[in-house]
């Protein structure tokens, strides 16, 4: 039943990005997000031009395009991740459009007003959020959940010094990920049994619908606890011990691909920082100044 449910977002492929180490991708995702937030989005005191920063977004777009082409994931699966937060983006954009006081007022009604600077910051805000989500979605699309939690464990290892139970946390994460499809299947079965007893989940008001979930949630909890119990038994009987030093079946190694990826992404970060602090707004002026600004 429901064999077509794709677990998580992982899109299987053999691309350059898929072959990167999970740790590389985790770190570079952070690099990307940091870089993105260094692109100027507001009119600063130093630079009055509202279009300041567009060049940064252009670079980001080029970087994203390169990554997507290298990752060979379908555009549709990337757009799907935007769909989920589209409403939030729209709300933030609308609020942003009306609250900015800088710049020339273009339109006003009672206490509401829109300025030219507000339009620019809003466009930049939307660009930033959309690019942030696209960039962040590459990681789960190209990395299996198991590799992800392994990579996370490896990166957080230093925290062991201050007695953070890194291994335990990674184990919990792996188990949770492992059981999502199992519990999903279980849920489908329970829904079928309760439907066979005449339960309906899509009629009535919100309270009725919430109440209709009880006959599903309780059996689901009961079986989850039963499974947890059985799993604990199985781990115990194989002498699982989280405190001793464990070796890994799959030892992940970084290779030339990871080195290339690091160079590429850090070059992007440096370019963004240079754009912000040294080139001032030369590129922005060269490209956009002619037709956007004063």
């Amino acid at each position: 039943m429901f064999k077509d449910i794709s677990f998580g977002q992982y899109y299987p492929s053999n691309s350059f990005v898929h072959k990167l180490d999970a740790r590389t991708k985790l770190l570079l995702t952070i690099v990307f997000i940091v870089a993105l937030f260094f692109i100027p989005s507001n009119v600063s005191n130093r630079i009055e031009q509202a279009w300041y920063g567009y060049f940064g977004y252009m670079m980001t777009f080029a970087v994203l395009l390169t990554i997507i082409i290298l990752a060979r994931v379908p555009i549709a699966s990337i757009l799907k991740s935007i769909k989920g937060v589209l409403l939030i983006i729209v709300i933030m954009a609308v609020i942003n459009l009306f609250v900015s006081n800088q710049g020339e007022v273009l339109w006003a009604w009672r206490r509401l007003h829109i300025t030219d600077a507000a339009i620019h910051t809003t466009i930049k805000l939307i660009l930033r959020l959309v690019m942030l989500i696209i960039g962040a979605s590459i990681l789960p699309l190209t990395t299996t959940p198991v590799a992800l939690s392994d990579g996370l464990e490896s990166l957080l290892k230093p925290l062991k010094v201050i007695r953070v139970p890194v291994h335990d946390m990674a184990m919990i994460l792996s188990i949770a990920l492992r059981f999502i499809p199992t519990l999903f299947e279980e849920t489908q079965k329970i829904i079928a049994t309760q439907k066979a007893r005449g339960a309906s989940f899509d009629t009535g008001n919100i309270f009725k619908r919430a109440k209709a979930l009880i006959p599903i949630l309780i059996p689901l909890f009961v079986s989850s606890f039963r499974r947890a119990d059985e799993l604990a038994f199985a781990m115990d009987s194989r002498c699982y011990n989280a405190t001793s030093k464990r070796t890994k079946y799959r030892v992940s190694k970084m290779g030339w691909r990871d080195a290339l990826a690091f160079i590429f992404m850090n070059a992007y970060l440096v370019a963004v920082l240079m754009d912000r602090y040294y080139w001032v707004f030369e590129m922005d002026r060269i490209i956009f100044g002619g037709w956007l600004g004063k």
């Binding site: 039943m1 064999k3 079965k189 005449g198 309906s200 059996p219």
Partner: protein
């Protein structure tokens, strides 16, 4: 009138995706009223998909079908279909959720929109029918009962809807020999007292040979055999074509026949015993 008629049913999971998989292929059969009907087949042969069509849990796409004369495909019949065809799934004890046995059994009748008096009557009757004492069990939590008792409560939950056809998916799975015998006895009792038309899905050939009047055997979504247990288990290529085992009695009789003894085809242990007795007497004479 036949209880169930299915014609040319085909069902494909995840159509038009890379995960496409045919679960049922051109399946046709008739279940007569008052019949105990067996569906056998290895894991993944399409048994569960098939029975879920019978009460509309899976909507029929390709094919025709009627249950008690009503069209399965007609959306208006959907609700009535759920109540007409009572379905006891595999490990039904995992469906229990209410605080008390009484409330759990009442879940189905409540969904039918019955009056309180009628619900109470049905719940009491169903609990007693499955062999539990109403006064002792009604107010207990279903989670503190034994495995066999839980399964009885779950079956009562379906019986309380007073279905006209009862479908049981692996009703004896995971029970000890005594528990299995108890559940089979319960099914016989239900057949006699409340619901004469029963469909049993199983892997257990001994049980189905004994209980069923008619059997269909599925393999990879297709019906390979359709007939009485004696007919179905008489096929010499039964094992190869279904990847199932013969009933123990049939297996023993086949082995004896290989030794050159003239023994009739049997499917149950009772038949085997009387056949052996006949041969023994024949020899003595």
């Amino acid at each position: 009138m036949s209880a169930i008629e299915i014609k040319n049913l085909t069902y494909t999971y995840s159509k038009k995706t890379p995960f496409e998989q045919t679960a049922l292929k051109d399946v046709s059969f008739v279940v007569e009223e008052g019949e105990t009907f067996g569906i056998i087949g290895e894991t993944g042969s399409g048994k569960s998909t098939l029975i879920q069509h019978l009460n509309g849990l899976i909507r029929m796409k390709d094919g025709e079908g009627t249950v008690l004369g009503k069209d399965i495909k007609d959306k208006k019949n959907l609700k009535q279909l759920r109540f007409d065809v009572g379905m006891v799934f595999q490990y039904p004890e995992y469906q229990l959720f209410a605080d008390t046995v009484e409330q759990d059994v009442a879940f189905g009748p409540k969904n039918m929109g019955l009056q309180k008096v009628e619900i109470d009557r049905r719940v009491r009757k169903a609990i007693e029918l499955v062999g539990l004492n109403y006064d002792r069990f009604a107010q207990r939590s279903p989670f503190e009962l034994s495995g066999g008792e839980k399964r009885r409560v779950a079956i009562a939950g379906v019986i309380a809807m007073e279905p006209k056809i009862l479908v049981l998916d692996e009703p004896t799975a995971g029970l000890d020999p005594q528990g299995r015998e108890d559940i089979l006895a319960l099914i016989r009792k239900l057949k006699e007292e409340v619901c004469p038309t029963i469909i049993i899905v199983t892997h257990n050939m001994d049980e189905i040979a004994k209980e069923a009047d008619h059997i269909i055997a599925l393999f990879k979504g297709e019906i390979v055999y359709n007939g009485t247990p004696l007919e179905v288990f008489s096929h010499e290529d039964f094992k190869e074509k279904t990847r199932l085992e013969f009933p123990t009695a049939t297996y023993i009789a086949n082995e004896i026949r290989k030794q050159g003894v003239d023994i009739k085809q049997v499917v149950t242990s009772e038949e085997l015993v009387s056949e052996l007795a006949r041969i023994k007497e024949g020899k003595n004479v």
